[in-house]
Structures are given as C-alpha cells and as structure tokens.
Symmetry: C3
C-alpha cells in the first residue's frame, strides 16, 4: 500500500508543510526513520530527532515550533499521538483477516455461530455456546458451555474461557488469558484445613474491552465479576471474584484487584498495583506504579503512590528522607546528646 502526504493529511484533516506528494508505504519511529515511511513526534523529549530523521513524513502537533531547518515533510494535526493511532488503525483495518472454520475443531452441535466467523484449528467450543457475527477465535482456545461472545470480538490463540462467561461486542482478548476460573474462596474447618467454597457465579465482560496476555478474571462466588465497557487490562493482571471494574478504566501490567472490590470509572492505574478486597475506589482515581490501596477511596480524581498509597508529593519527599534516614536519626542523636550534656530536662 502506498499513500502520498496529501492523502494522509486529508484523512487526518491536517496541514502539510513540505512536499505534498511525498510517498509513504510504511511506519517508523522518528529515531529510526526510513525513506518512504511516516513517523510522529508528540513527546518534546524527542524533538531533536526531527532535524535528522530519514522519514519522508512526520506528524507533529499544531503548535510545534521548529528551531532549525527541517528537511522532511510535516503534517500538523491537533494531536499527533491520536493521529498516528488513527492512521495505524486504518492501516491495520486494511490487513487481511483470517476467516472460515478450520479443521480439526470441536464444535458442539448445540453451539450457535454467527456470520463470517474465524475459528482456528484445535479450538473447542462447548455446549450451548453463542457466538456473534465476525468473531475471530484463533487456534487452541477453549470456550466452556453456555458462553456468549458478541459481534466482532477477537480471541487470540490459547485463551481459556470457563462456562457461563458473557463477553460483549468489539472486545480483544490476548493469548493465554483465563476467564472464569474459580475465585479463591475457602472456609476454615477445624483447626487447619480449608473447605473449598464452590464458585457458582460467572464473569461478565461488556463491550469494547481489551484484555492483555495471561490475564486472569475469576468467576464470582455468586453473581458476576464484571469488567465494564471500554476497560483495558494489560498483561498478567489479576481480577478476583466479584470485582467490578468501571467503564474505561485502564490498568497497566501485573496489577491485582482482590475479591469483591469495586473500581470506579475512568481510573488509570500504572503497573504492579494492588488493591485490597471489599473496598471501593472512586471514579478517576490515578495510581502510580506499585501503589497498594488498603481501603476505600471516596473522593474522585485523586492520585496515590506508595504502599500504602499516599499523595505523590508526600511520597516523593518521604522517599528522599527514607534514603537519608540514617543521617536523620544521627541528627536526632546529636540533639539528644547536646540536651543531655547541657543538663536540660523536662523536670
């Protein structure tokens, strides 16, 4: 596929500076720019690359100000990061998608499959499964009984989905992810042993959700574990039984949400966070990497970092003091000695 700068500017409603006939057939990072490729510049940290890049076209923010001569063709857009996202998705939508039902697969006779499916070899579809239109299920997946999967959802290879799970439209689920395994519920019996509590609830994943690779979303003890519309969970996240993750919340890799916790809408959590069981987190909460949240967060829009999570400014200053803790204690000891030597006392 080949485009010229003018066509791309039209798609993005951008303004060209330079050669409007510059040819683009590929994408590249600005620091690794190649002729006939398009790059983007959104982070000012990378500004210096624009004067030397070999990319034929670079998307920049409207307000970008050049400090030297630029040889490449620019397309100015309101938001260069969003613009490249649109272009990449456009490019991706032109790629050929797999289709058809390959052999061998195991599809139960009671399963209902919508129009234009892709079902890869060695995928197992159980009793009473309902699959919408344009769904892609790659090889080696397991879809348990009574699972529902909405239109246009893509399930990559090696995904395991337990019975009763409901998945909405336009979702993407990456390889190795496990949805609907038993929640971790045990009642102590006698002194030591534990009795397993059968987990008879399910998992509900609404529309337009993306789950990364090797994510776990456990089924509810009773009722449903819910991942709401627009949620994105990166690789290795763990969502325990009866959790409810609010709309458009985004969680980077390796986080853990303990049982029965409710996460609000539009939250953004960095990697490796942890949230206690049975708590409620307000909408628009932001967590820094590795934040641990032991209790409810009631006020919306706050940011936390640390373990337990605190205000980032407090955390930053406290961390510096922590590093110097020994010096601080030595200063205290010095004062104590002075007070003692001078016979100053309370009494």
């Amino acid at each position: 596929m080949e485009f010229i700068a003018k066509q791309i500017a039209e798609i993005l409603s951008g303004k060209i500076e330079g050669d409007e006939n510059a040819v683009v057939s590929d994408f590249s990072k600005i620091e690794e720019g190649k002729p006939n490729s398009i790059s983007f510049l959104a982070n000012p940290k990378y500004n210096h690359y624009i004067y030397e890049t070999q990319s034929s076209v670079v998307l920049v923010n409207e307000d970008f100000i050049a400090e030297k001569e630029i040889k490449t063709t620019l397309i100015r857009v309101p938001d260069a990061y969003k613009a490249i996202a649109i272009l990449l998705n456009f490019y991706n939508s032109l790629q050929k998608k797999p289709s058809g039902i390959e052999k061998p697969t195991q599809i139960h006779k009671t399963a209902k499959i919508g129009k234009k499916p892709y079902i890869g070899s060695f995928t197992y579809i159980s009793k009473d499964v309902e699959i919408g239109n344009n769904v892609q299920i790659y090889p080696n997946c397991y879809i348990g009984s009574n699972v529902k999967i909405g239109d246009n959802t893509i399930i990559y290879s090696g995904v395991n989905i337990y019975s009763e799970t409901k998945i909405g439209k336009d979702c993407v689920i990456h390889s190795g992810t496990v949805i609907g395994a038993d929640g971790f519920g045990f009642a102590p019996v006698n002194d030591a042993a534990f009795l397993k509590i059968a987990q008879i609830g399910n998992v509900v994943i609404e529309d337009n959700v993306e789950l990364g690779a090797l994510v776990t979303v456990d089924r509810a003890t009773m009722g449903s574990t819910i991942i709401r519309t627009g949620v994105r969970l990166d690789d290795h996240n763990h969502v325990a039984h009866n959790v409810d993750v609010g709309e458009n919340t985004v969680i980077a890799a390796q986080g853990g949400i303990a049982g029965s916790t409710k996460i609000g809408k539009n939250c953004m959590f960095a990697g490796q966070i942890g949230i206690a069981p049975h708590v409620s987190i307000a909408n628009n909460t932001i967590l820094g990497a590795r934040a641990a949240i032991p209790g409810n967060i009631k006020k919306e829009g706050q940011t936390f970092i640390g373990q337990p999570g605190i205000d980032p400014h407090d955390f930053l200053r406290a961390s510096i003091h922590f590093k110097n803790f020994d010096k601080i204690v030595k200063r205290l000891e010095k004062l104590e000695k002075i007070i003692e030597k001078n016979n100053i006392s309370i009494d």
Copy 2:
C-alpha cells in the same frame, strides 16, 4: 432443582425461623437477593441488607440478633459462611460432569487411564503416564511422560504438565497453569555469559491441593519441588525449584516463593507476597498483602507486613510517620535551629 427451607435446615443441622416451606431453587448474594433464592449473612458489615433482601431464605450465625422485623425465612447455623460453603458444594456435586474420551486426543499406547475418565479433545498424554479413577482432564492440556495423576483430580483446559510430575488425589488445577518447567538455575561462566544448569528433578503435588489459573511450580534441580496436602495457591503464584510448601498453607494471588525455600504448615499469605530463596518459614505464619520476607522466620504464628516484613502494629504506625516524614524532618530542623541560636552545644 428445588428444595424447601426445612430440607436445607436438615442438611445443615440448622434452626428455622419463619416459613419452613419456603422454596429455594438458586443462590444469591444478600444484597442482590431474589425470590426463591438462598443467601447467607456472615460479615456484620452486611447486616443491614437482611431487612430488605428479596431472598426467600437467609443463613445466619446462631448468635445473630435482629434489630428490626425480618420478612425472609432465617436458618440459624453455627457458622453461616461454612454452611453456605457446604450447600454450594452439595449443589455443585449435583451438576453433570463431563465424561468419556473425546476425539481427537493423543494418548500414548503405554499410558494407563483409570475408570470413568474425562479426557477432552486436543489433550496430549505422553508415554508411561498413569491416571487414576474419575480423573477429569479438559481440552488442550499437555501431560508429559511418566506423569502420575491420582483419583478424582480435575485438570482444567490448557494446563501444561512437564514429565515426571506426580499429582495426588482430589486436586484441582486451573487453566493455563504450568507444572514442572525448568527451575531458574544458571552458573556464571567467564565474565558474563551464564551456563544453564539442567533441571533434572521433578514436582510432587500431594492430595487435595488446589492451584489457581496461570500458576507456575518449577521442577527441582535435583530432588523434588513439593506442594503438600491441602495447599491452596491462587492465580499467578510462582513456586520456584526445590521449594517445599507445607500442609494446608494458603497463598493468595501473585505471590512468589524463591528457590529452595521451605514454607511451614497452615500458613496464610495475602496477595503479592515475596519470599527470598533458601529460607525457612515457621508454621502458622501470616503475611499481609505485599509482604516481603528476606530471611528465616523461626517462631510460629507470627504476622508480618511490609518490605521487609515487620510487625503489623509497627508497620501501621511507621506508615503514618512515613506519610508525614517531611513534617517530622522539619520539626527536627526547627530544634536544630533553636539549639544553634541559643548557643547550646556539646563542647
């Protein structure tokens, strides 16, 4: 399936208050109670729901005291949480189990399969495998050579079990879990490169063990990595080579136990903990979420939290001071200035 309150009270040796003919055909959470369903109330935090719940029957602790009129039928039992566990398991035991050997599977001619097996499609059973009676192995599993699996064990879809692994009776292993991959052992050679140390030991999982989804239990370098009877490991746990996890120990999600460490019996670890290699943890140790244990714990029955793990009371107070660390240092600075201004000194 339908039961009446009287039948349930008999199963649980409970005492009915209300309509002993109330019909129950489902379970629900007390806060989402529905007619003809049974709920339970164990956590006093949820007491207020009992006055409005639509559930037809609610299990409560013997000593529960109502503060208002209750419309639903109560069954009083010594431990409502344990009682619901028993009921759920009873309900689960009535569900139909999969059975038979589906096609296609790959079962080596030397493998021995016990009575009443379920082996799902696309499961691979290698040479000299021995499988007990009533074992369920879901689709897309890999069972390496010389693996032994005891009676009644359930292995969900997509589990990978390396050669020589021994698994006992009545175990449950959830999807995507990997048992017996190589331990992480490398000997430095020259300045920089590492020589892999072949891992020729195995993994032994005793009886009545439950492993969550996407758990790893690595094989021993020599000898065995051992998970003892009654252990429960939640999703994403990692058990390194030559570890020994004691009876009935329970570990919540995303924990990591480093190589050659020995964990005692009846320990309870919250999520995201980490334990150093080559250490020994006493019986009945409790770890709070995210606790990190760098050395031996010799005394039984202690609780730790923090990184490194300390007494929870110390941790709680220290965490509050940490948040206020900047103010504390400013108070110290103020004292230093006072001392200086007043010409008080050691000399």
Copy 3:
C-alpha cells in the same frame, strides 16, 4: 547410564580423593545423598553435610578444607557449581529427544521446516513460517504467520507466538509463554474513552535466550521489542512494547519492564522488580528483589534495592529505622517538650 569417578574426573579435569572406581548412576543433593549418586558442595553453609552424605562421589571446590574424616570420594574442581552444571547438561544431552511430526498438526503449506524437527500434536504453524534444523516444538503451540525460528531452539507445550516474531538459535521457551501480543498503547479521546493504538511492530529474540513459563514479551508499536543474545527471563516476567534487554542480562521471576525502556548488558535482577517506561539502565546493574526503578541509571555496575531503588546499605539502615519509626518520633517529641519546658526558643 553408569560412570565411575575416574571418568567424571576426566570430563571435568578434576582431581580425585578416594575411590576412583566409585560408581555413579544418578545425581542427588548432598543433604539427600544416596549410594551410587554424585552430589556437589559449593555453598559453605552446606559443608557439614559432607561428613554424613551417602553420595558415592561429591564435587567440591579446589580449596575446600575438610574438618573431619570424609568417607565419600571427592573430586576437586575449580568451581563445583559450574562443574555440576556441566555434568547435568552432559547427562541431559544423553536423554532421548522427541522427533518427527506428530498427527494431527496444522502446518501451512507455505511453511518451511528444517531438518530433524519435532512438532507435537495440536500445534499450529501458520503461513510463511520458517523453522531451522533440529527445532523442537511441543504440542498445543501456536506459531503465527511469518515467524522465524532458528536452529536447535526448543519450544515447550502451549506457547503462543504472534505473527512476525523472530527467534534465534539455541533458545528455550517454556510453556504458556506469549510472544508478540499487542503492546499496551492507547491514546485518550474525548474525556474518557481510549483509542487503541494498533501495534504493528514485532518481537526479536536473538540467540541462546531462555524464557521461563508464562512470560510475556509484547510486540513493538513500531520497530521491534528486542531480547538480546544470552538473556534469561524467569517465569511470569513481563517485557512491554519497544523494550530492549541487553546481552546476558538475567531477570528472576515476576519482574516487569515498562514500555520503551532499554536494559543494559550483563545486568542481574532479582524477583518481582519493576522498571519505569522510557528509561535506560546501565550495563552490569544489579537489582535486589522487589526493587522499583523510576528513572535512568547511568553509571554501570551499581546495586539498588527498595522502592524507589537506593543503595543497599542505605536501604538496610533505613529499613531498621522504619521499623522503629514510632520510637524515633517519640524521641523527637521528647526533645520538643524539653525545649518548650525550658523556654528555649529561636526568638
């Protein structure tokens, strides 16, 4: 297989003390030594076992000094740990390897398979895949289109490799690992929702790399995520999009490297570490368990521990003070009271 001490000493260029005809047919740990087995002693902590071990032969370091009579046969070598690694690998190389292409598999007609392959049942090999000589791919793997795999590489069961991934020679990839899933890239649109950024780059894994079980290495947004020659990643590690991990770097279990970060050569990271996005870590950096690195590390050969990572000596002292934080604050309060009572003030 049976060897005598003399043969083993020759392989390792070691020096025998004791019976040079001692027979060895197995390996055992020194503390669980059995007749006709060989053990090793490298860690002085285990020295006391050598006087009682039942092992017929023990490898010891050249400079080992016995404090009592030793009954077993010793072989002195420059590095006992390295020597046992060599012996174990030699032993492993004598084991029979699986070979041939099993049925059923799904191999695209355009795929090129080298000499002496092993491809297990239920493995799926897509369009335009190129596989070198002596490659072993165990059952239930998915190999996406246009993937290349170099000579002698071993891919265990249940591995998922997305399209365009390049894997070098002599690599080992353990079960359940996912290579090439989408990086976690989303551009905010409007107030709340996120637009997925198509990830059109790939993953490049060079030669002699070992990836543990359930590892994720995400594909680049553009360009490549790179794991360089000799890298070893333990189970559950997460490598985000556009990361570059330098030669011979070793990372223990459950670490996470955020997007676009560059890790130097010969680094050694303990378990559960985390590194921020868009940072650069110098060669030979050492991270203690659970270290969190928020920014660049420019100087080579430093060690960090804590969150954020600091010098280990500072961390150790600070951790002790943290535990005693409440007492330290009480000492400060006492001084404040003394100063106040004595009417000492700045003014």
